[in-house]
């Protein structure tokens, strides 16, 4: 950084420049704020980065505090994983979509489950009516998982599963699919979302109260350390927090606070931080404010590294690394002029790449209407391939480092996140804040503020409140899930219940009940259950009975 006399000279020149700027005209009333509502100055100079110590705060990729990236060679060594989240209808349909994607160069799978599966209900339970296979693939038992991965070797592919409340059950099924293919559990690679805290905060797909949920998670962490050592046990997620309407800073702060809560919970059960921390990963949103997002990712890596090393005394370098998946912002897409969403997604994806993401999902243009059609998914995947192969942005590592603006924003992100951590601490920690609706309120207020900015045209959204087409007719093909899927699933579930060894099912469920009531690790009991085709709903019914169910007081 420049020396003192140099800085004084810059300060003088800047002052003069600002004086002159006042004489020039800017359109009155226009506010220069980020998507999150943060004010942005007209210019950033060395004065804004004065406090930065290159070696301490920026440094080199693959080195503490990892501001510039988690690997020393970043995309020159290995491209990010292009991981399109998908799954719909029946297990068979999903299996076909996976083969379609793998044949077109996708490099990892990411499973979307339907709501009954996410909430621990079988397809034939009354609450599942009309929801089976609609927003993801439906899984009742191991049989469905066997079909989903038919013809896909689990030792050749990494799989990310977006499942939270019943995550341990789905992992148990995945382990069994591997076993049947002859792939031992220590060869399995992939990620479970398994982040229940953000469910309470934002996505709202929980089953049990927070404490038993946290136990299921720490059980899974301990089990994986021994038996599935390459598995990423939690994908601590800011994505849903952002989609629920938070600002970028809130997304960053609440997500990392959740991450710290998992670390503390696992340490409390006697696990060594260096045993489990290397397999915690993260999942962030990429919204439209290009630089704000990039600063967020850079700050996230630095904050995590500092806390893991200094606060939690992790010794292994891998424990300090914040590796993350990015998905472009679903909430930034518009129903109007849906083709514009291709462009929005491309900018967002670019921010994720410049921010050093490890994997990326690009949304499809039609997602404000339905699950994406094959054509829309294809364009979304091509968007990533274009960034990787045509733009040249991945040629050098962290190309925006040293930008006065980006570095100043990165610092601001870190500073503001630390303020939130202190506030959460003051309120008694993450669980307490959830109980009291603190996060939920902060997010709802931000969402309402954002909407008001759109309605007052303080914020322009192309095609929505400006550049509007009158009598617009949307002409994009819509993917539909045949209602037959639900009927067919219910039929095959009933057949399964007749076919399987129901004495065994009963015995494994009784054993699960005992384990759940006690303190032993729940994973082995869950694996025993799924092995004999006990359904997810049956397992969750037992656990609901033991742990109770969670309901949220309606807050507005």
């Amino acid at each position: 950084m420049p020396g003192q006399t140099k800085l004084e000279e810059i300060a003088q020149r800047q002052k003069k420049w600002e004086e002159e700027l006042k004489q020039t005209k800017c359109p009155p009333g226009k506010k220069f704020i980020t998507v999150s509502g943060e004010p942005i100055k007209e210019l950033y100079t060395p004065l804004d980065t004065e406090e930065i110590d290159f070696n301490r705060d920026i440094g080199f990729p693959g080195e503490y505090p990892y501001t510039r990236g988690v690997r020393n060679n970043m995309y020159r060594g290995r491209q990010w994983t292009m991981r399109q989240f998908s799954g719909m209808g029946s297990a068979r349909q999903t299996n076909q979509r996976y083969h379609f994607l793998l044949e077109r160069g996708q490099t990892g799978l990411s499973v979307a489950f339907d709501l009954p599966t996410l909430m621990g209900w079988d397809s034939d339970q009354p609450r599942s009516l009309g929801e089976v296979g609609i927003c993801g693939v439906t899984v009742d038992s191991l049989e469905d998982m066997e079909i989903i991965f038919n013809g896909i070797s689990l030792d050749k592919i990494s799989t990310s599963m977006t499942i939270n409340a019943p995550a341990s059950i789905l992992l148990a099924m995945y382990i069994m699919v591997g076993e049947k293919q002859g792939v031992p559990s220590d060869k399995l690679t992939g990620t479970l979302q398994n982040d229940i805290l953000k469910e309470y905060i934002a996505q709202k797909e929980w089953i049990f109260p927070p404490e038993p949920h946290m136990r299921l998670i720490t059980d899974l962490m301990a089990f994986c350390t021994r038996h599935v050592p390459k598995w990423n046990t939690i994908s601590v997620s800011g994505y849903h927090i952002r989609e629920a309407g938070s600002t970028a800073i809130q997304e960053l702060a609440f997500t990392l606070a959740d991450g710290f809560a998992y670390v503390e919970a696992a340490i409390k059960t006697g696990q060594d931080v260096d045993d489990f921390a290397p397999r915690l990963s993260f999942f962030f949103n990429s919204h439209l404010d290009f630089f704000e997002e990039i600063a967020k990712y850079r700050a996230a890596r630095r904050i995590w590294a500092r806390h893991m090393r200094e606060r939690y005394k992790a010794k292994k370098q891998e424990s300090w690394l914040l590796r993350f998946h990015t998905q472009t912002a679903g909430c930034s897409l518009t129903a109007q002029q849906p083709e514009n969403n291709i462009v929005r997604t491309a900018f967002e994806a670019l921010a994720g790449v410049l921010g050093g993401t490890q994997s990326l999902h690009t949304n499809s243009m039609d997602e404000t209407y339905a699950l994406p059609s094959e054509k829309a998914v294809f364009i979304a995947l091509r968007t990533q391939q274009l960034i990787a192969n045509e733009t040249g942005v991945a040629n050098t590592i962290d190309p925006l480092a040293g930008s006065y603006f980006v570095e100043a924003q990165t610092n601001k992100m870190e500073r503001e996140a630390e303020k939130y951590f202190a506030e959460i601490e003051r309120r008694g920690g993450v669980l307490k804040c959830i109980e009291e609706g603190y996060f939920q309120r902060e997010i709802a207020e931000a969402a309402y503020r954002y909407q008001k900015q759109i309605e007052s045209k303080e914020r322009i959204v192309v095609g929505v409140n400006d550049f509007v087409l009158e009598n617009e007719k949307v002409e994009i093909p819509i993917l539909r899930i045949d209602p037959e899927v639900e009927k067919e699933q219910v039929r095959s579930l009933r057949k399964l219940r007749e076919r399987r060894d129901n004495d065994k099912v009963k015995r494994t469920l009784e054993n699960l009940r005992k384990v759940a009531q006690g303190t032993d690790n729940t994973m082995p009991a869950l694996i025993d259950c799924v092995r004999c085709y006990t359904t997810e709903g049956e397992i969750c019914d037992v656990l609901r009975d033991v742990f109770g169910e969670y309901t949220e007081p309606p807050l507005i």
Binding site: P116, E131, K204, A335, I454, V464, N465, E552, I556
Partner: protein
């Protein structure tokens, strides 16, 4: 003085996406409506029950999970069964235009998709209820 318009905002089914409904709730409240929000995971029965008990003028349902073709008709059916079909049922979510037309034909009010403003939603409810009220007078 005319009483305030009472509106029940509801999240049926398993869907947990509540950003939209909360924004709508705050906007209706700020526009002078009496707003009752059910919270998440309501069955059609619970929603209709609440609407009748709370004597609301309108029900706004938010569904982003794709289950709209099951849940909207079910609520409509129950309203009719209970003789409460004077209550306006409208909503929003991730709903293809084709489905919207089908639902409107069945008697569901306007459905708002991403990008809709709170002010157009409020205007719609005011206008529709205003018209209904006038009709009542003529009768």
């Amino acid at each position: 003085m005319q009483r305030k318009i009472r509106i029940l905002l509801a999240k049926p089914g398993l869907d947990g996406h509540d950003r939209g409904i909360k924004v709508i709730a705050a906007a209706f409240r700020d526009a002078g409506f009496e707003v009752i929000y059910t919270g998440l995971r309501q069955t059609a029965e619970m929603i209709v029950e609440a609407a009748i008990q709370e004597d609301v003028d309108a029900i706004g349902m938010s569904i982003l999970s794709g289950a709209h073709m099951t849940l909207f008709p079910r609520v409509l059916e129950l309203l009719k069964e209970k003789g409460a079909d004077h209550i306006l049922l409208f909503g929003g979510g991730i709903i293809p235009q084709e489905d919207m037309a089908k639902l409107e034909k069945m008697g569901v009010g306007k459905l708002f998709t991403p990008g809709a403003t709170t002010s157009e939603t409020i205007e719609y409810v005011k206008k529709t209820l205003g018209e209904n009220r006038k009709e009542e007078k003529i009768l």
